[in-house]
Symmetry: C2
Subunit: 294 residues, 2 copies
């Protein structure tokens, strides 16, 4: 998807990869599907489990349903109703728990029922699956000067980096991160993985997780640049994408446009791929007082 | 665009034609472009004028800019800022006036400056242009049992009816109309064109205009069925399209899904084309208390 408005504003040529149109409304369907389809036949029938209450939970439920195997999603009691219904809609079993005990309950399910844990981003099959976003992007657009993707736990970013480095080594890779959850930026700066931010609050609710170990290793090896953006920049970019591309995106996805704007002076004339990671939003960000709807 | 959710819910196979992705965000770009490109060379340099402050105003400005001819849009003083900026953004001249005097001021511009009036829906070139929506739809989908399009002034509906009747005479045609502006329904019922509703108020703000004469004639000849839908049905359909197709649509567009739901018992198993007429929304409909976001 392209936008005359965006290209004109940035003086660059931007192709959006629309993962909002992916199954379950986010790129997460790719990693979960790859992980589930990669399970050996002797393990698969016991099913899969995860503790992600975000898009990965729904994605794993979707993937398990496709292979016809059981799926458990461990979710905190206070998970949003929309997330619970999405997971249940794909036929998965929900195991409720206290928010702090998710990982523990998850391990218990693995022990008791022999299910395989599919971690949302510290899993190489998941990362490889997310890497097909950039694979398709490059196949569809041809040579690019720059690819920008959001970073939270880093599954998408690691997959993107692996694909771009292999297929198009001359292409730069930037990670878009909310400034209030800037552990990826600090990790890259120090050369040592930094802990995630405690109780982070950002409109980009898909990017609150601390950077995972495999993603950090890949990002450090390839010297990926992390650019942080503020909350007003994120909500404004979300609104502008919605108005000008008519694609429903979640704030986490719009961080990539926010980054391009912050770095406008550096990207003039470039051919850029920007990954819109998902489109699952309740539109509560519309109420942010910083948003200018002009 | 298709949606598993919609198909499953309706027990039918629905293809959405996404005019929200059209230039200026609505099908109106088609009619305006056809009208402007059809102008004879001796008239074109004097330019075009209209009094529509909705999507047609922006569409005419866009089309005139493409041909490189002047364009005037007569707009009431209290027109929304977004509409004014859209028209100005395409380089058209805005002539402000009192709301009640729009047509009169428009005629004055025609007399004084020799511009050609391009009426938003009572113009055969405009109707022919809008007819390319259904033309493309049928080319893209193959045989359909039913096509549903929204009706306001009737330009889109008349164009749709002409295309479908010519290319696929076995296909039924339904018009989707807000119940609070039901002059098309009453016109078809009485066999005589009924006046539009005074000061109508509907979330479907693109469908407030009374049915135009040419559209009525076409609809009567082909016995198009008009189905009305309530405001709660319209806002719910808008939300559901946004959530399940990730396409930004305006409430006027979502009337087609609302109609399919109202008539669910009649459409089981059918192959249906549904025209999403546009995607220019300020999302104020999200505040409707009848909206259930589950």
């Amino acid at each position: 998807m392209t936008s005359c408005y965006v290209d004109h504003q940035l003086g660059a040529s931007v192709v959006f990869k629309c993962e909002n149109l992916q199954k379950v409304g986010a790129f997460k369907a790719r990693g979960a599907t790859n992980a589930v389809l990669s399970l050996p036949d002797e393990l698969a029938p016991r099913g899969v489990v995860t503790h992600s209450s975000g898009n990965h939970g729904a994605a794993l439920a979707y993937a398990a349903a496709r292979r016809g195997i059981p799926c458990v999603v461990v979710m905190p009691h206070d998970a949003p109703g929309t997330k619970v219904r999405a997971v249940r809609g794909y036929g998965a079993e929900i195991v409720p728990c206290e928010r702090e005990q998710r990982e523990q309950v998850c391990r218990q399910v693995v022990r008791d029922r022999g299910m395989t844990l599919i971690h949302p981003y510290e899993n190489m099959q998941v990362i490889a699956g997310q890497g097909t976003v950039a694979l398709e992007l490059i196949e569809q657009t041809g040579p690019l000067d720059l690819v920008v993707a959001p970073v939270g736990g880093g599954g998408l970013l690691a997959g993107t980096t692996l694909s771009v480095t292999a297929l198009s080594p001359q292409t730069s890779i930037w990670a878009a991160e909310p400034a209030v959850v800037d552990d990826a930026r600090r990790s890259m700066q120090k050369g040592v993985r930094q802990p995630g931010v405690a109780r982070p609050k950002s409109w980009a609710d898909g990017l609150l997780t601390g950077l995972g170990r495999p993603a950090f290793e890949v990002m450090r090896r390839e010297q990926v640049r992390v650019v942080t953006v503020t909350e007003p920049q994120i909500v404004q970019a979300t609104w502008d994408i919605i108005q000008h591309t008519k694609q429903v995106v979640e704030p986490s996805a719009a961080t990539v446009l926010a980054v391009l704007r912050v770095c406008a002076a550096e990207i003039a004339g470039l051919r850029i791929g920007a990954i819109l990671s998902g489109g699952n939003s309740d539109f509560s960000w519309l109420e942010d007082p910083a948003l200018r709807k002009d």
